[in-house]
């Protein structure tokens, strides 16, 4: 088949054969990877600017208004536009797949990806046209500072973020409505049974009964473990959405007051209290949502790849419940440099409870590795490679954060490139995304009705470029942080030139990897297929009936 024919028709992809659930999943996946490309380009622009006067970009990119507006939308596009879309798409497919029940509403699923796409685009436009740049932290009163920013830009930005959160609430409703629907295998289950299982309480009770020499509370939990992780992580997603919406409303009210000519005193809102409130919510994305969703994804991938039961499943269930308490109590590690923050909160929430994440994530890593090990020999498939890459990512990123969540270390690392590169970027680019790529390769044949991937060579090139580039960029950025480079600061004189050039080289590898991946996908589904994904589905089915056991057979 010629290249041109592949480009137009793909390999054997037939969009007409897809049902409604498959199509809505693929729509969100397409948007997610387009946003990923945008965020990679933004990241590269920022990396190039800080290499100093020798950077090849036009001077406007080094202007503070321009530079910080990119820095403001970079995490919005990356975390919400790309990551949220991909995770939500995967979970709205997986919950029906694992529970063998239909998704509550396909219309709502369409609403979710549309809201997140439009919201992300609006936030991006606010930064592009009005250079609204309070950064994602929105430290009060900066987002309401109309001496530095256009109020209209702020309003557009906040409306964009609010739409993303409305889409997020749609996802949450769809997930819980699907889980609690008493149809199929859950026909005879009560809401109480589903709740107990969803919070991992049955796993905890099984462990307690085992210690007391009693028979297990339940031999067959109502919900599969990955669904428990989705259920549990979605609690944090909900709380986070409420906090971000509340902060957005606060900013919006002040901006609208300013536009109407009223001169409201921003000092009416306590900055430190606001920081506590905002970080409590925002940290639920990082320490609650990501870690729990990721742990659940690892468990799912390990069981799908090996076809075996998860090692220490009851412990894993109980740990997800424990994480409920941990993720709600760790936010103070973001406030270790705030001298007004009570010392006891720094000590208990910022240091001690935060250190618990080493345990919960370490446990997930252990359970996943042992499950894989017990099933050896395994074929080194793309999904297994990416899963191992994801484990490496979190193996690097979590300790990097725990090290900084310490009153001694924080004094010399807070707000440096250490936390954003060695922790955040490695956790997201390597840890989270490689886990998601693994899920993508596992689900690809199911979601696309066995479409043949255009090139396995390109898949491998993508893997290695992405892994080396992602770790390299995080490592060189982290080293710059140790050398004193701040994370929210503009450097135009090449102060950290050598490390930034090396980070830019690695960043380029990530960007090229994305092009290679995109090319491989487009050549597999074809442009016709790509357009077809967005056309209405002829088959309105909202569930998919392949048994998970069939996937495991392919890895043996």
């Amino acid at each position: 088949m010629s290249m041109m024919k592949n480009l137009i028709d793909g390999t054997n992809f037939d969009h007409k054969s897809l049902n409604a659930l498959q199509k809505v999943t693929l729509r969100a996946v397409v948007m997610s990877f387009l946003f990923f490309g945008l965020v990679a380009i933004e990241g590269m622009i920022m990396r190039l600017v800080v290499t100093g006067p020798a950077n090849p970009l036009p001077p406007m990119f080094s202007h503070p208004e321009h530079y910080f507006s990119i820095m403001t939308v970079h995490p919005i596009v990356g975390i919400f536009g790309s990551t949220y879309q991909l995770v939500f798409a995967a979970f709205m497919f997986l919950v029906p797949f694992l529970t063998k029940k239909p998704l509550y509403s396909i219309k709502l699923a369409n609403f979710v990806w549309l809201m997140i796409t439009i919201g992300t685009a609006l936030a991006w436009l606010a930064a592009f046209f009005w250079q609204y740049a309070p950064l994602y932290t929105l430290y009060w009163p900066l987002p309401a500072d109309t001496t530095q920013f256009h109020a209209i830009g702020g309003v557009v930005f906040i409306v964009g973020v609010a739409l993303i959160m409305v889409g997020t609430l749609g996802f949450i409703y769809n997930i819980y409505a699907t889980i609690f629907a008493r149809v199929g295998i859950h026909k005879d289950k009560t809401t109480k049974e589903l709740l107990i299982s969803g919070f991992g309480i049955d796993g905890m009770l099984n462990l307690v009964n085992k210690l007391r020499g009693k028979p297990p509370y339940t031999k067959e939990p109502a919900l599969a473990l990955p669904v428990v992780a989705i259920f549990r992580g979605t609690v944090d997603t909900f709380l986070d959405a409420i906090v971000i919406l509340a902060a957005g409303i606060l900013v919006l009210v002040f901006l609208l007051a300013d536009m109407s000519g009223a001169n409201w005193d921003v000092a009416a809102v306590d900055s430190l209290l606001y920081k506590n409130f905002f970080w409590w919510g925002l940290d639920l994305v990082a320490d609650g949502l990501v870690l729990i969703y990721v742990a659940g994804s690892w468990y799912l991938l390990a069981t799908l790849i090996t076809g075996q039961k998860l090692f220490m499943e009851n412990v894993a269930r109980a740990a997800l419940m424990l994480e409920l308490l941990v993720s709600w109590m760790v936010w103070s590690h973001h406030l270790l440099a705030d001298q007004g923050q009570p010392e006891m909160m720094k000590l208990i929430s910022g240091e001690m409870v935060t250190a618990f994440e080493l345990l919960t994530q370490g446990l997930a890593l252990f359970i996943t590795l042992v499950t894989l090990w017990k099933a050896r020999p395994l074929k080194m498939t793309m999904e297994l490679k990416y899963l191992l890459g994801g484990l490496v990512g979190f193996g690097l990123a979590i300790p990097a954060a725990i090290i900084q969540a310490d009153m001694g270390m924080n004094r010399v690392l807070h707000n440096t490139q250490w936390i954003i590169m060695a922790h955040v970027h490695i956790a997201l680019i390597v840890g989270l995304y490689m886990t998601l790529y693994s899920a993508l390769y596992v689900l690809w044949p199911i979601v696309t009705n066995n479409t043949k991937m255009y090139s396995s060579k390109l898949s491998n090139i993508h893997f290695w470029l992405y892994l080396i580039g992602g770790i390299g960029m995080g490592a060189f950025g982290g080293m710059a942080g140790l050398d004193g480079m701040l994370r929210r600061h503009l450097y135009v004189n090449g102060e950290f030139n050598t490390l930034m050039i090396l980070a830019a080289v690695c960043g380029t590898m990530v960007l090229v990897a994305w092009f290679v991946f995109l090319f491989n996908i487009v050549m597999s589904v074809g442009i016709k297929g790509l357009i077809g994904i967005f056309l209405p589905a002829e088959d309105p089915t909202a569930s998919y009936g392949i048994e998970p056991e069939e996937i495991a057979e392919n890895h043996k």
Binding site: Q148, M352, A355, I402, R411, N415
Partner: protein, 204 residues
């Protein structure tokens, strides 16, 4: 073992984390290779409870280690009971330092209190060596008490090594902190000079 300044701590941290990173990458790579082998045998068994104990020891031990080796941790917690050798209080408004001494000269071993107060936005207070590395930093939050007096953001620091340190805000407070060409308007060159220490640190 005690770290007498942040440069020593950062060097130690660089080495320790690099060794850890190389180790975790190697272990997963080795693990992945052996997953595909039919005859792969466990080199060692890591019992679950030993592994968990190792994680607990790592998480808790890290804080115990830093508390006992980094002097500014306990000093920070008990700072309100310590009388500094000198105190400097200043304000920030519209991205400008107000009431800032032109230069502070510190004798080796002196403990200095810096108290920065913001009249509008969230800023940062950070001292940097001439090579760009960070000596110390804190956040500077705006706010007032019921009497309208600005909230303090105070830090105590004991200087044990000679050096000349620059000051700038370590927290983003909007693009107005910079000129159109990106020069930092809050940068104060050579703000602190420490004298009277031996070459390796400590009083002469």
């Amino acid at each position: 073992m005690t770290f007498t300044n942040s440069a020593e701590l950062l060097s130690f941290h660089w080495v320790a984390y690099t060794i850890y990173a190389a180790m975790i990458i190697s272990v997963i790579a080795w693990f992945g290779y052996n997953l595909t082998r039919k005859d792969a045998k466990s080199v060692f068994r890591l019992p679950f409870y030993t592994y968990m104990a190792f994680l607990v020891a790592g998480g808790v031990g890290h804080h115990i280690f830093t508390y006992n080796t980094i002097p500014w941790v306990s000093q920070d917690i008990t700072r309100h009971d310590i009388t500094p050798d000198a105190s400097y209080q200043f304000e920030i408004k519209d991205h400008k330092w107000i009431g800032l001494p032109k230069k502070i000269t510190v004798q080796c071993g002196q403990t200095i209190e810096f108290d920065a107060r913001s009249r509008d936005l969230v800023y940062g207070f950070g001292l940097f060596r001439q090579d760009g590395s960070l000596v110390l930093q804190m956040q500077v939050n705006p706010g007032t008490d019921v009497n309208g007096i600005l909230d303090p953001n105070d830090i105590l620091w004991t200087f044990n090594h000679n050096g000349v340190f620059d000051l700038t805000s370590t927290e983003y407070s909007g693009p107005a902190q910079y000129t159109e060409d990106g020069e930092d308007l809050m940068l104060v060159k050579n703000f602190v000079e420490v004298v009277g220490c031996k070459d390796g640190g400590g009083k002469l």
